[in-house]
Symmetry: C2
Amino acid sequence: MQKIRLGIVGYGNLGRGVQFAAAQNKDMDVVAVFTRRDPDSVRTVLPVKVERIEDMKQYVGKIDVMILCGGSATDLPEQSVQAVKLFNTVDSFDTHANIPAYFEKLDAAAKESGNIGAMSIGWDPGLFSLARIYFGSALAEGSTYTFWGKGVSQGHSDAIRRVKGVKDARQYTVPVQSALDRVRAGENPQLTTREKHTRECYVVAEEGADLARIEREIKEMPNYFADYDTTVHFISEEELQRDHSGIPHGGFVLRSGKSMKGNNFLMEFSLKLDSNPEFTSSVLVAYARAVYRLHAEGKKGAVTAFDIAPKYLSPLSEEEQRSQLL
Amino acid sequence: MQKIRLGIVGYGNLGRGVQFAAAQNKDMDVVAVFTRRDPDSVRTVLPVKVERIEDMKQYVGKIDVMILCGGSATDLPEQSVQAVKLFNTVDSFDTHANIPAYFEKLDAAAKESGNIGAMSIGWDPGLFSLARIYFGSALAEGSTYTFWGKGVSQGHSDAIRRVKGVKDARQYTVPVQSALDRVRAGENPQLTTREKHTRECYVVAEEGADLARIEREIKEMPNYFADYDTTVHFISEEELQRDHSGIPHGGFVLRSGKSMKGNNFLMEFSLKLDSNPEFTSSVLVAYARAVYRLHAEGKKGAVTAFDIAPKYLSPLSEEEQRSQLL
């Protein structure tokens, strides 16, 4: 069997996760990792060649799909647009507001090079987006809800760390059980931001810091916390390491609606993930398979999960899919 | 807006459901219902022309997609293969063992006529199949489980009605809660047929019938009940009408697995449906939209839910999908 040859750009939690996930898929082979750091300083979780990001072009013809695992929302779109000029790409771009503009840029670059750029792949955007589109299509009249958590929000944890006197922090987004229950009961409620999620913060303060001020500054922070019921727990560095070192996440997509005759329907998709980046990586690898196959069929341009038929994702043949999974 | 012109073949619960579901979708228009009965004897739930099934060919060019709602597993494949010679079709063929053979037949007929025949559309096969393929692809190492119910099984209800002395019956398939809990806990259990579902039967016996014999014959019936823990309740005709006249169904698809580092992941999709046929109909209508669009792109042949990218199902434009649902 000809394996699908992958490259990994960026080697943080996501990049390591891609390497692990690829090892669980027999048709995948990671050819090289590309980094902005000194390659000699990078220790990989499984043996693989590490290269400077500038040397990517030497791998044209040796890598089928490049998986972009860049660390930040600003790196990712730029790196993808560069990479898609040379390779098929998959990325997990998740800044919702910028998706339309980024799609246009990636699409233009991909069409020019004849490659495919798959964007916003993962679980949200990604599998949750799929639930939203399938649910909304299957049930024309109804309401769709997305709840996140319980899980660590990196962005909110970072925001707390920027508060003066904070040494370290972990923020959990928690769905409100009573809101979930109301949706499941078919009430079709209108839910405010505050009614859907609470925010739980575990904060390590610097010695002698004004805890009351820190708590107030967190709770009043616009965009991040002001619209939520937020609880702040001050804990020791040891407790943070011991109890909050994981990166779990998950959530729920629900659609509740009714037929014209008044019969109720509830559709629900949920994820419970011990490791957010490792699961995202696992989805990225499946979409690398799809991109490889679509490219072989002559497809080019930017694509999202909406554009890709499920058959392209599975390692099974179409006949096996129909007999085993349909 | 040019509406998608639908035809409905067969006018039982499913056909009526399609008519209702189409009315909830602004881009759909039901042109005619085709029946094997005397058209004058058919009363439709919303106004629509009723025609003899033999007169279908007079609608070539006037109907874009024919939705097959034939009553039985034997009617459906034959009617679809006939209809796809004249129209694009969508059906809910659900005899799992015969899917491969039926696919080949439908594919040959559809390719010859230049139409699309979408088969095995609904919730299982259909949305549950999608969950199985997406879940299995996203998580290479793990176990996938499908549980059905609580819901009415028409086939099992019919089987009970064939027992001597039985006037009427309703059978519910019920998932075993403890088995669901073990899967959710990440135990990856090997579950026997008996461990996954129980069967609950509500039976109206003829006057003077031997209830002990009826109960024994039901519980020992091979394929249908012998491999399950079955309970039989004898009730009156009035009770059956009052408490068991609905056709609810639903179920769960779960996949539990882990990353190479040992982190656990749980994916779960569930449906809770007050009316099984009305929900199936609603899914059929969404796939009629997809078939219409794919045919406009020049696609032909048999397809299943696996072959259809989600973007084709949604009434939203691709730009709207990306900005609102991704």
